[in-house]
Amino acid sequence: MSFLHPAIAWAGVAAVALPIIIHLLFRRRRVSIEWAAMELLREAVRRTNRRLQFEHWIVLTLRCLMLLAAGLAIAVPIFGTSVGGGQARRLVMVVIDNGASSALRGGSESELVRVIDEVRTMLAQSEIRDRVGIVLASQSPTLVLAPTVDTAAIEQALSRIEPAQTPSELKDAFMLALATINAARLDGSASGEVARVVLASAFRRASLTDVSSISVANTANTVGAFQAKSDASAGTDAASSTPRIEIIALLPAQDSPSDARVVHIDARPAPSGAAVLVRALIAREGASLEAGQTFVRATGTGMSAAPERAVLWEKGQSEATIDFQLLPAAQVAGTRKIGVEVHIEDDNLSTGNEGFAAVDVRSELEIGVVGRRTSLDASELERVPSSLWISRALSPSVGSGMRVRDIDPSACDGRALLGLDAVVLARPDLLSPSACDAIGKFALSGGVVVVIPAGESIAQTWGQVVFSKLSVPLRVAAEAVDHDPPLRLAEEQPPSSLLSSIAPELSALVAPIETKRTVALSGFSKGEVVLVNADGSPLVVAQAPRRDDGRVERGMVIGFSTAPELIWTNLPVKPLMVPLLQEIVRAGIQMAAGRNEVAVGERMSGEALAIMRHEATIQPRATEGNTTTTLAIGQDGVSTNLVERAGIWRSDAGAMVASNVRPASIALAPNAPDSVRAALAPLGDVRFRSSESNETTAQVPSEADWSFMLLVIALALLLIEGVLSRLFSHASLPSASSTDETVSIVGRVRVRARSEPAMSSSSSISSSGGRT
């Protein structure tokens, strides 16, 4: 049993002490009387004591019960079950899907509003006042209203629900609802109540993404398993005592509205100049993908707005890319972090109509090439060292956007690496241990390190030292291997983000490449291969440094299995050389700068905020009203809270992260009831509720009825107490002035009194004698 106004209930309980306190106070105020006939009085008290005590207890109990009943009546008790054998009261946990897809507008109101209205209707149809708790299903599920019967609180909680941009997590929300029910049962507040979980969702594809991950074998997350656990915890008979938990789901939406969204933004600096190239992937879905157009515009911080462009959809077309070039609004030198935004026109679902990206724009990249040259290097083409080929490839002409700085291996230290964006190790065999340490730190700080085998010798004994310092698991064979005939690159290269900008012409560029000598690489995964030889061995691999605990760090390590020297390969003299090195360095720098994009609903990792790793505070680019959303990065490098909104996030130190809505979280395809039931089957037996159905099944007295009954009881107790206290207080006895009692003592004797007139005139003296 609980109360609508617990404080008043406690006051009622406390009021029970009032009669006792009054009794004690009045007891102190009793007057003292000197008395002669003490033995008679003592005997009289002894004879009446049991009756008096009984009377006192009766009256005291009545008074206490009366106050208790009155207090409880005012406090509005809420009973778990009816006393008359009616249907049990329910504990209803409403799981409201306010995920990203719930903002879908089907007319003037959003789907979330429609779902909430349906929940309101369902709750209003119940004649009993259910205890209702509310769980929001958007990531991460939150209990926004603990179970209560306070209709005002329920309505207030419902009215405050807004669609989130985070994905729906119906499964976790459902489990949270079950946990709440379990907690309520364990603390006794919901004992005997019928528990019900209402899944209030349109059950579009986005809502069932996480539910589909539930396997039937995962019985720990099912209602049945939960029920058994709950029963075991309560120490009761599982079969009989604990009411079942029923799952009610709203009918899934069956419409398939059309909606376009920004799926992906690829923003990178132009190879030359300060411009930013933006490529946006626009997708649309819906039942009928008619021909049409969607207007798209792109902006960037400090950049001139690009002219709005339109995506012209053909019938049935679901995806399209559109390119923008953002030009700087003013001449700016140095490195800048630019937030790029792509917007499409508003449609049925506003969520997803924006895409964000953070891009580093540098006016000129600084590349260090660690190698040793001699005066004879250029005298013979066959003897041109790889460091020279690389320098020429990276900076073939003035204005290429890259500036190469030659570093002798003996002078390679932290100071020499200062200000560099990337380092190419052309002679790793000449690096001292301290140089290796400096390069390792450079990589971990977000730099790109390209490792080339030492072209001067067959033996490659540097591998273990260098790669271990670079914190990558790459391994290199101790000796180079000659190939006759030379190895050719595979015609079909694996997709790699490093070479995505030259991917269309890559097959043509790799065709003439022959490799006569390689050194075997190992310790990489398939996804880390950038270029692969025809025999399957890698030519170029890329790895991110990792901590000892396996956590990916910033930075990028790119390993070559061959040295770009002509005695090793013809790569230096082929067209692939320049774009290969420039792209892997440029793209590598973008990637090594950190994962500067995060999906809404994820935690922001510290890799993107290395300089703010400890308690860094990231502020959003835009403020909503007067509030600014902040995210604190914990000492573990991960934000304590989830990223809940799409946008550009910037730290005080200049770090920038873009957050975007996951496309899967706004997938609007409808699901048939059967498929929804099948998807929810692991949770338990789901029953759908139609809007026409009436859930009024309970005939349990309402709280008002209980209060009225208690009030009547209190009044009845008051009446009984009044009569009994009047009776027991003996106030109704003859008044003290009456002489009846006195006369009765002597009157009996007066009968025997002599009949002389003088004697008979005296009224209160009697006489008797043995002389008659």
Binding site: F26, R27, R30, V31, S32, I33, E34, W35, A36, A37, M38, E39, L40, L41, R42, E43, A44, V45, R47, T48, L52, E55, F728, S729, H730, A731, L733, S735, A736, S737, S738, T739, E741, T742, S744, I745, V746, R748, V749, R754, E756, P757, A758, M759, S761, S762, S763, S764, I765, S766, S767, S768, G769, G770, R771
Partner: protein, 317 residues
């Protein structure tokens, strides 16, 4: 003014000094009686009885013998040598009273302290009045004040100044202690050789078993007794109307109770006790009176006179 009005405690209290008060009581009683107590008291000859061997020949009525030639003996009534012993209880319980003593009233030390007309006040008034009346009829009157034992005693006498001695003894002395009526009666009986009328004025709030042996010994010795049970009106009615703490005048644990709740039981017990005293008295040929301190003592005197006549009659017979 009617005699009864004189005898009301309010009136008695204003009739100072003590002597005047007692006289008013007695005269009021006598004037209110239809049959004067003096009648018959002057008749010396009571009856004739046939002579029996052993009778004194001096008591033979020779005139009757001369007329009837039969021997008859004269029987005479003893006129003046009735011994009346008034015993007044002055234990602590007699200190109780609820009638307010008004200005100008006399009373004893007991009432002076409390401002109430106590049972002891009423008992002394009764004793003084009885003494006065008996002395006026030529009886020998003695007095004893007792609690645990006889504390004050006035020897029997029929002298004119005897009454002053009695009043002097009554008006002083503490009212204290616990009544030991059996012991006190024994002490008095040890000093009385002839038959006497014992008028015992007390509240008799002691166990009947304690009273019974004393009354029995009186009866066995041939004495007559009259028990005047003097109780306050509050004791008779127990008309308190709010919870109170009752503290015993003779000590003991206090009792907290609601008088209204125990009133019926108390009155029933009081009635039983009064009945028991009454039955006890009757069983030994004695009288028992219940006297309300708020009422007149006149009827007590009338009863004493009645008892006296009965006593002298038996003794003559």
């Amino acid at each position: 003014m009617r005699a009864e009005q004189y005898l009301a405690p309010e009136t008695l209290g204003q009739l100072l000094p003590f002597e005047l008060r007692a006289r008013m009581i007695v005269e009021g009683v006598m004037s209110g009686m239809h049959r004067s107590p003096y009648q018959g008291l002057a008749v010396e000859f009571a009856e004739h009885r046939q002579y029996a061997p052993g009778d004194s020949i001096r008591q033979i009525d020779w005139k009757v013998f001369a007329r009837t030639d039969k021997l008859y003996v004269k029987r005479y009534v003893q006129e003046t040598n009735l011994d009346v012993l008034v015993m007044v209880d002055r234990s602590s319980s007699m200190r109780y009273g609820t009638l307010d003593v008004k200005k100008g009233w006399g009373g004893t030390d007991a009432s002076r302290g409390t401002g109430k007309w106590t049972k002891f006040d009423h008992a002394t008034a009764t004793a003084a009045a009885v003494g006065y009346m008996c002395l006026h009829q030529g009886d020998r009157v003695g007095l004893a004040l007792f609690d645990e034992e006889v504390r004050v005693q006035v020897k029997r006498s029929s002298q004119r100044d005897q009454w002053r001695a009695i009043v002097g003894a009554l008006s002083t002395g503490p009212v204290n202690g616990r009544a030991q009526i059996g012991r006190s009666i024994d002490q008095m009986m040890a000093r009385v050789t002839n038959r006497a009328l014992f008028v015992i004025v007390s509240d008799f709030l002691m166990p009947i078993d304690e009273l019974r042996p004393a009354i029995a010994r009186l009866a066995h010795r041939g004495h007559d007794a009259m028990l005047v049970q003097t109780l306050d009106r509050a004791e008779l009615r127990f008309d308190f109307d709010s919870p109170a703490r009752f503290e015993g005048l003779e000590g003991g644990d206090a009792i907290e109770t609601d008088p209204r709740a125990v009133r019926a039981a108390y009155l029933a017990l009081l009635r039983e006790h009064v009945d028991a005293v009454d039955r006890l008295a009757r069983s030994f040929g004695a009288d028992a009176l219940v006297c309300d301190t708020h009422e007149s003592v006149g009827p007590v005197l009338a009863e004493v006179l009645d008892r006296r006549m009965s006593f002298t009659g038996r003794r003559g017979g």
